[in-house]
């Protein structure tokens, strides 16, 4: 269980940023628990997705299915067992894992675009099942929520249940507000730690080998199918964890979380932040959730105020044009940013940071660099 200095610094640096978010996010107007909780939840989702996509090289277009399954499973645990969040997330992770095992087993028989299409098909099937066919389990388009009449076997066994609408808790502690944020933050840190350990383990190296050259892996004596399936299941379980946390903070499980747009969103987060990096997917998730929050709250009034310095005619034009990119249409802005990133910075924000860092280092250490160039390469 040794960790290199670099990993320790990375982990503690990341932990510090996450735990200080309530302060750090204040200047951006994002320091309220509901939004920061979503930062944590989608950070977990993106880290899990990156284990499959970034590490193993399999692009799934159906990860929202596991997210949604996690939500439903957690809600059923709230209804049947207890309002305690712990059994709910454990149950959600197990159910999402089993679900991923079944879908992964079939989808991983193909690779490349065919794998992506298979996962997309399974996710759309799951969405339709949740939306209409399985209404007794999912409560269809209304969504599943807690009710006073729920059995909650464990709760009723040990306590007299309090009156009023049941809400998720953690051993009696309320999970609303900042408590919920720190609960999700602890799980994000655990997920980050797990992802870091996997990335630096021999198992992670095998996954990278599969991404790099699956043919060579086979001729090197590896049975690659169980490796990819394990990565798929881990990634599905983390999506289930994220889905269950969303229900902990907002006790309503709906089918729309399984739509293909939700699957596409986690792909965007990962690519925007930096595929295959540890911190990148989390950054991507934060940025997308932050701007979703900002842009979707804009309306004609806000825009009119923003452009108040313009003369009347010009203001109307500016407002009409900008309004297409905000509010309901904020996905248009997201799409544009995504296109720019993929074209100019395919490694995402992390590559941008690396480039800037490299430029700094070059200008600082120029004499040394020159010396290095002069010395002959030892391999020749």
């Amino acid at each position: 269980m040794s960790m290199s200095r670099k990993d320790l610094i990375l982990f503690f640096g990341f932990s510090a940023v996450v735990l200080l978010l309530p302060i750090l996010a204040a200047p951006f107007g994002a320091a309220y628990p509901d939004l920061l909780q979503r930062f944590m939840i989608f950070g977990i989702f993106a880290i899990g997705f990156n284990i499959l996509f970034g590490l193993t090289g399999y692009l799934s277009f159906g990860h929202a299915a596991f997210f949604g399954v996690g939500s439903y499973a957690a809600m059923w645990s709230f209804k049947l067992l207890s309002t305690n969040a712990l059994p709910a997330i454990i149950f959600a992770v197990i159910v999402a894992g089993l679900f991923a095992l079944a879908i992964g087993f079939v989808s991983l028989r193909r690779s490349g675009i065919y794998f992506s299409i298979l996962t997309l098909a399974f996710a759309q099937m799951s969405y339709n099942l949740a939306y209409s066919v399985l209404t007794p389990i999912t409560n269809g388009e209304t969504g599943l929520r807690m009710a006073l009449s729920d059995p909650r076997v464990l709760d009723r066994l040990f306590f007299s249940t309090p009156p009023g609408t049941p809400v998720p808790s953690l051993f009696g502690m309320s999970l609303s507000g900042w408590n919920g944020f720190f609960f999700s933050a602890a799980l994000l840190l655990a997920t980050f730690f797990l992802a870091m350990r996997i990335t630096n383990s021999p198992f992670g190296m095998m996954l990278k080998g599969i991404k790099s050259n699956q043919n060579r892996m086979n001729y090197t004596g590896f049975n690659t199918r169980p490796y990819t399936l394990t990565a798929f299941v881990i990634s599905g379980m983390l999506a289930g964890l994220a889905g269950s946390l969303l229900v902990v903070t907002d006790p309503l499980a709906g089918a729309e979380r399984m739509r293909w747009t939700a699957s596409g969103e986690v792909v965007l987060m990962t690519i925007l932040g930096g595929v295959g990096t540890l911190v990148g997917p989390v950054l991507g998730a934060w940025i997308i959730k932050y701007f979703e929050n900002i842009f979707s709250s804009f309306n004609a009034n806000v825009l009119n105020n923003f452009y108040s310095f313009l003369p009347d005619g010009a203001r109307e034009v500016a407002v009409t044009v900008s309004s297409k990119f905000v509010g309901e249409g904020w996905h248009l802005s997201l799409g544009l940013v995504f296109v720019l990133i993929v074209v100019f910075l395919p490694g995402g924000i992390m590559e941008g940071a690396r480039r800037i860092g490299a430029r700094f280092r070059r200008s600082n250490a120029r004499p040394e660099a020159r010396r290095e160039q002069l010395s002959p390469t030892a391999a020749e």
Partner: protein, 257 residues
């Protein structure tokens, strides 16, 4: 034709045919490779050399016949199962992990050797695997790539990629090593280094099947040579016998296939 005594044979390609539609790519191939020997397969372009290697390694199923390695029938087995039995292969175009470092490229096959075809080894860290790391560094030293261990393998020159792939195969200490033109595209200097390296591992008793165009390489290394033309073995014997065989000269110079 001299036939080796049966109990020394480690690889037996028995009566293999391979057809692609109407094309008879391999016909009536019977090949026996003795333990510890280097067996070269030569022949003009399109003779079926690479097809034969692909059949041996399990990449292509033969239309009929079988490949037997050390008493085990390889035909129908998956590539990773064949590797786990002790067969490694160097490809014509180097198959390496371009996105991993040179050192990781060599460590990966060492894990396959130690842990088998599948093991969830995620609670240890690569940094803790000092034994495998040292073994890999030793191997890289052998092939002259030790100074480039931290470099991305994709950025190596073609010759270095070949040496890296060779190191990836050798670290597994395979009982049988299949080499598909291991010196193609190398400079004369690199070719000679590779010949020296292959001679060195020969002294460790590794059996090798080698496909090669370069006659200098073939005659420096081979104990026996089979000549393939038009999908058939037209001659087989010791290097000197093959060199003087008129049928071989015709196949190479007369284009009679």
């Amino acid at each position: 034709m001299f036939m080796p005594s049966k109990d020394n044979v480690v690889l037996h390609v028995a009566d293999v045919h391979k057809r692609f539609g109407g094309l008879h790519a391999l016909a009536d191939i019977d090949l026996q490779v003795e333990e510890g020997k280097t067996h070269a397969i030569i022949g003009p372009n399109g003779a079926g050399k690479s097809t034969l290697l692909n059949v041996i390694i399990g990449r292509l199923p033969p239309t009929s016949g079988a490949v037997v390695f050390d008493g085990t029938v390889l035909t129908g087995k998956m590539p990773h199962e064949i590797n786990q039995l002790g067969v490694a292969r160097v490809f014509q175009t180097p198959e390496i992990f371009a996105d991993l470092s040179v050192l990781q490229n060599v460590m990966t096959p060492a894990f396959a050797k130690r842990d088998g075809a599948f093991r969830i080894n995620m609670f240890r860290q690569v940094a803790d695997e000092t034994a495998i790391r040292e073994e890999a560094e030793h191997m890289l030293d052998d092939v002259g790539l030790i100074d480039r261990r931290e470099v991305h393998a994709g950025s190596l020159s073609r010759g270095d990629k070949r040496r890296l792939e060779l190191a990836m195969c050798l670290i597994q200490k395979p009982r049988l090593l299949l080499l598909d033109e291991p010196t193609a595209g190398m400079s004369r200097h690199d070719t000679n280094t590779t010949i020296e390296l292959l001679k060195k591992i020969k002294s460790r008793g590794m059996t090798k099947v080698i496909i090669e165009h370069d006659m200098h390489v073939v005659f420096s290394l081979a104990d026996r040579i089979s000549v393939l033309a038009g999908g058939r073995i037209i001659a087989e014997g010791l290097p000197d016998e093959v060199r003087g065989d008129p049928r071989v000269q015709e196949a190479y110079l007369g284009g009679a296939h």
